[in-house]
Amino acid sequence: MSLRPPAEGWYETPIARDERGWVAVAMSVCLCLFFWMIGWHLYGQQNPSSISYRISPSEYMQLHLQWVERYRIGEENGVPVVAPPPGSDVLLLAQMWRWSPVVVLQKGQEYTFHLASVDLLHGFSLQPVNMNFMVYPGYDYVLRFRPREAGEFHILCNEFCGIGHHLMTGKVYVVENAAELERLRQRFRGSQP
């Protein structure tokens, strides 16, 4: 009883058939869920990586700037546009309140993204694909992405980072193939001051 001590012999009361059945079903579901997560690591395409490094914000900033200069193809809305070679690294920077740079990727190629912040925690939210990861100051989170479709995508910040949080948006282009990448390159070259 919930308000009074239980009746004599409560400990020996056999478990009724339906309750026993339910507990057995529930327990098997629980075990399946656990092994499902492990199975997805073996056979699934989407798994958060276990790779991360400590890095000081100033050092990351330096690496980021070097990388941007190296592969920069233009500028959009005041943000540099960078087209790294397929299969290479992307050193994305999160800072109050911007994502840098705009990245141009090629469909079906794998890119090694580095996510790091130089001030507060930020949230990397790729839309409308809807993939979300955390970005920390002092840590480099390494995630290898393989874009599945071509088009224009946005990066939102979805971890509170101060009054300008809602202004923190970025952009990703995914192009179909190398020819289209060249066209985009031309377009940005044309827009350069």
């Binding site: 869920l33 990586s49 809807n130 993939m131 955390m134 599945r148 971890e159 009054i163 809602h166 948006t169």
Partner: protein
């Protein structure tokens, strides 16, 4: 100086009531209601801000009120109420005295001081850090001090609960075994100790950092340990809520657990595995590995989820078995149709169970899986999930049981019982709409804790699919309805407690105290005790599998990531 406790004998339940314990319970409950009032005013402003067609507050005040709302709902309202519940379960229920009244007053004083200090600092604009206050975001040191004072007070209250149990046991005021309600609260109290210690481990260094005594707090370490406070705190709520479900089932229908051993083992599973839940918040974070994530997020192979699934059967089964013993045996669900629906505690409990399971539980388990977290982390689906658990589940269960606490502990008649019968429905429908809309918006990628999802002024403006517009309307209407439900409850409680007619005796009891009925003889457990409940739980499982399948399908459609 020792003063002998003064008892009154309850003319309704026959229990011995220590007057000091009663006063402490009343005061803690009053502060709980006060915190809920602050929280719900905040909720109203937040709903009217995020609902983009109204967009009431400016950005700074949105985040400020969001901080206030989170603190007052998730911490102050619930912990004050839980302390009242802990004292109730360890003294009145056991006919036992309060072990150390002065320490009880000290605990209350600390909690109230912390509550006021933290709220004032937030409103004064010294702590725009949201409830989680992730470092390196920094609030004024007085804000952290407020949280620490509150937590120390709460920890003392938890130890007083254990003290009360010891005193009651030595004095032999109850039989050798704790009632299930108090047993469940003991589980909650043990989890509370683990939780509050985690809180101390992280808040004390953060407090020192805000004073400049220590140079930095690692952000990843902060988040890990902070959630050792934040998530298990919600499991205290689950444990306390389930205890209240068992209590409500007993008071309203005379239902008792069909197997006390199973129900108690389930509470033990909570204690053993719930403290791993910090991982739920770190599934898409650097610094921790997948092995750590999978093991911890599943509470060691979902054994704490198993506990909730056991209670999800056991509580309705208690009601069903009692109703069947009363003769409502036709079909699978006559027992439910003939249940005391006019009793607001009963309807609140049933709605709490359904809401907790179908909205909070299903989303919680699926969003807490390592990979599916990718498509919901920090989207509105997450607050949608915990609107299901902690608002529709815990808060509604606590509101429901209050309709018995008013006559039994406050010794007042309920003012406006007619309205009280509607209150659980208004609140539950409101929160359910709100939560479902939030889950839907989250699936579309709409971020939580975000002032302007039209991104005006940002370098790149993202627009969400058109269906979001419909969901925002449901969000707004559900939110307003839920706020209405809380205000109605607060109105009934305040009017009854402060202005209601005093209870003169059992004849003043407006809600019946159901008598337990002898259950069917089931010597070797071969008979079904609750076939209706079994069908209902299987329906729940089927719903879970549909939502599970949908989420993994959505995940599989995203980009490859490893």
């Amino acid at each position: 100086m020792y003063r002998a406790p003064i008892f009154r004998m309850c003319d309704i339940t026959g229990l011995q009531v220590d007057r000091t314990a009663e006063r402490l319970i009343r005061l803690n409950a009053v502060f709980a209601a006060l915190a809920l009032l602050v929280a719900v005013i905040g909720a109203l402003l937040l709903v009217l801000t995020r609902w983009q067609s109204v967009h009431l507050l400016p950005a700074q005040w949105y985040y400020r009120i969001l901080t206030l709302h989170g603190l007052n709902t998730l911490i102050f309202w619930i912990v004050f109420f839980e302390v009242a519940g802990l004292y109730f379960g360890s003294t009145i229920v056991l006919s036992a005295p309060f072990c150390a009244p002065r320490v009880g007053w000290l605990a209350l004083l600390l909690m109230v001081a912390g509550f006021l200090l933290a709220d004032v600092m937030v409103l004064a604009g010294y702590a725009d850090v949201l409830m989680t206050s992730y470092v390196p975001l920094q609030a004024h040191w007085l804000y952290y001090l407020g949280i620490i004072l509150f937590a120390v007070g709460a920890l003392i209250a938890v130890f007083l609960f254990f003290g009360n149990l010891m005193v009651a046991r030595r004095a032999g005021t109850y039989g050798g075994t704790l009632p299930l309600f108090t047993y469940g609260l003991a589980a909650a109290a043990i989890i509370a100790v683990i939780t509050l210690v985690s809180g101390a481990i992280i808040y004390v260094p953060t407090f020192l950092w805000s004073l400049g005594v220590i140079p930095r707090v690692d952000p990843a370490l902060y988040k890990l340990v902070w959630w050792g406070l934040g998530h298990p705190a919600q499991q205290i709520n689950v444990s306390a809520m389930v205890s209240v479900w068992y209590l409500a089932a007993y008071l309203t229908t005379g239902g008792v657990s069909v197997n006390e051993r199973v129900s108690r083992i389930a509470f033990v599973l909570y204690i053993l595995f719930i403290c791993l839940a910090s991982a739920h918040h770190l599934l898409v974070d650097p610094a921790v590995s997948s092995v750590w994530k999978v093991w911890n997020t599943s509470y060691a192979m979902y054994l704490a989820v198993l506990a909730s699934m056991i209670h999800a059967f056991a509580v309705p089964a208690a009601i069903e078995a009692a109703q069947r013993a009363r003769g409502y045996t036709r079909g699978l669900f006559q027992w439910l149709a003939k249940a005391p629906w006019g009793n607001p505690t009963f309807s609140a409990t049933v709605l709490s169970i359904i809401g907790f399971g179908f909205i909070g539980g299903i989303t919680g388990v699926i969003y807490g899986m390592e990979q599916t977290n990718i498509i919901v982390h920090n989207t509105l689906a997450i607050p949608g999930h915990f609107k299901g658990t902690v608002v529709l589940g815990t808060s509604l269960a606590f509101m429901g049981i209050t309709y018995y606490l008013i006559p039994l502990v406050f010794r007042r008649r309920i003012v406006g019982l007619g309205l009280a019968r509607w209150q659980p429905w208004i609140f539950a429908v409101g929160v359910a709409l709100l939560a479902i809309a939030m889950v839907g918006l989250g699936v579309l990628g709409v971020p939580r804790r975000h002032w302007d999802v039209t991104f005006s002024g940002a370098p790149f403006r993202h627009s969400f699919p058109a269906i979001a517009g419909v969901l925002w309307v449901i969000f707004g209407l559900g939110g307003l309805l839920a706020v209405g439900g809380v205000l109605l409850w607060l109105g009934i409680v305040v009017l009854s407690v402060f202005f209601g007619p005093r209870m003169e005796g059992p004849h003043d009891m407006q809600l019946p105290l159901a008598q337990p009925v002898p259950l069917q003889h089931n010597p070797d457990g071969k008979k079904f005790v609750a076939p209706g409940t079994l069908v209902a739980t299987l329906v729940f499982l089927a719903t879970f599998l549909v939502f599970f399948w949908l989420n993994w399908k959505w995940l599989a459609a995203t980009w490859g990531v490893r």
